[in-house]
Subunit: 343 residues, 2 copies
Amino acid sequence: MEKIKVVLWGIGAMGSGIGKILLNRKGIEIVGAIDNMASKVGKDLGELLDLKEKTGIKVTDNPEEAINSDVDIVMHATSYLNKDEFEFLLKKKVNVITTIAEISYPGAKDPDLATWLDDLAKKNEVAILGTGINPGFVLDLLIITLTGACSSVEKIEASRVNDLSPFGHTVMKDQGVGISVEEFRRGVEEGKIMGHYAFPESLYMIADRIGLEIDEIKETIEPIISKTIRETKYVKIEPGMVAGCKHTARGFKDGKEVIVLEHPQQVFPEKEGTETGDYINIFGDPDIKMAIKPEIPGGVGTMAVAVNMIPQVLNSRAGLVTMADLPTPGVIMSDVRNLLRNK
Amino acid sequence: MEKIKVVLWGIGAMGSGIGKILLNRKGIEIVGAIDNMASKVGKDLGELLDLKEKTGIKVTDNPEEAINSDVDIVMHATSYLNKDEFEFLLKKKVNVITTIAEISYPGAKDPDLATWLDDLAKKNEVAILGTGINPGFVLDLLIITLTGACSSVEKIEASRVNDLSPFGHTVMKDQGVGISVEEFRRGVEEGKIMGHYAFPESLYMIADRIGLEIDEIKETIEPIISKTIRETKYVKIEPGMVAGCKHTARGFKDGKEVIVLEHPQQVFPEKEGTETGDYINIFGDPDIKMAIKPEIPGGVGTMAVAVNMIPQVLNSRAGLVTMADLPTPGVIMSDVRNLLRNK
């Protein structure tokens, strides 16, 4: 069997990380690389991935150049949803794994987008999956999986508690770190402080899959106000200032909370006794209380989940698929082709 | 769409628990019940499930009576592997979910059995799955799933620590609780103290799926020697006596441990500071350290996993399938038929 032929679309932090993992996977071959940033176009992929040797693959900003009928799957890791890109890829009859959050469960925000993608993928006999660590793994797939050991479930509470201190200016700004409470609240009102973008995707993925109906989602974004001095390379927080952003999404059924997902993101949470981790509490028969401490890191986690789903997407029925539809992911230390079934 | 028609085979503790869960599931109908125990044959299923009302389903010891071409799936929960039962069911073209440990990964102990089941199921266009809490969920599916967030894995250590104090004489005897260390060692030698039966199944399910090769498994069964007095309704343990059985399975590659699964079972572990729980430590990129405290209970956990896999098995390709092959389980609070795809 020939190697699985992969094209990278988007060679930023995430895309180049995915590329590096792929280079270590047996049975996979990177055959193309797409990015529209002028500074990257024309360079050898090896240079962008900090390799010692050239790969012979030139980065192009012209998808037509990179995608041909030999390509099995595109690992798509750009920054923003662009429907044209997916239309292009699906019409070229290549399978797609994307880290674009909306695609993990498009029906959550845009049912028309979900239908359009599903139809287009089916018509072209390929599959498209959106995934990553969150959405895609911690606050959806893992929750669904744990409910698999329950005979009934009444309520789910889960929290992903992380530490923003390794991150730079952009993240600090997006999460409102290092500003006053007043500025934070204004930032939220003006839509500049967004918190975690993808709660509806995770929430509906869970609700639809396990049949725990919700009729309304309420999201709140609150400042995490520091009691101590917290200082990183990029920001210094005095007591009373904002150390982070606590974003919560609550799914209600008949006025009752049934799914509560929380993602408090701050710098140095341990300074005030908060342990970082992924926490899932399922209330049902039986109750299940799970903790992963520290939390699964977002960067490598997203890259790994995306790469590990390659055989599942290649084995999948055609259409828009979600993490809840496909066999469970797992790392692949052997030749990836061992996991392919003849379709 | 008609309701999913289910037959129960084996109405012991596990089978009757499965039956009770099924009665609360929308879109499912129990249409038959098989058990060969004389005291159960001819009784109404409602009586065996402690229901207030009759179900109209009489327990039979004749599978031919219970299985007809309308049956979609059999929930098989007997005590011992009997190939004839599976041959009968597969030839009747019904799908099977069984709690028989060997069937969760038959290749582990008997590759011929795996091939035979796979061929027979394929020939008759149905699927057969062995599952439960362990094997089937905690020490295999959950481990595989967590490695899905890793770009590489070098070693896996996992432990299921439970409390045997609610159990009766049989379990105490099987695990060697309440005897001297000498008696315990003799019991292990004579094969009377077995510990956990299904380590090879879990170990090979993980190893084969994630490609972490192993060339040898070593199992050890050690007594957990009490330092304190531990007393249940059925047993009194003095210091120096055996409070339980610590069973460990180590998978080696080139003399190096790569997968270590452990299942220490004892009465009142908290008496000596041991917290019950399911613990998974993955060493790789990234490391992942998961704890579920207390452990997912084995009884309801097994019943729930088995019932929750019904749509996955009905949607599956034909053949012998494992928990690692199918979409992740999840509880099903809505009509189970919502999860069926046209095949």
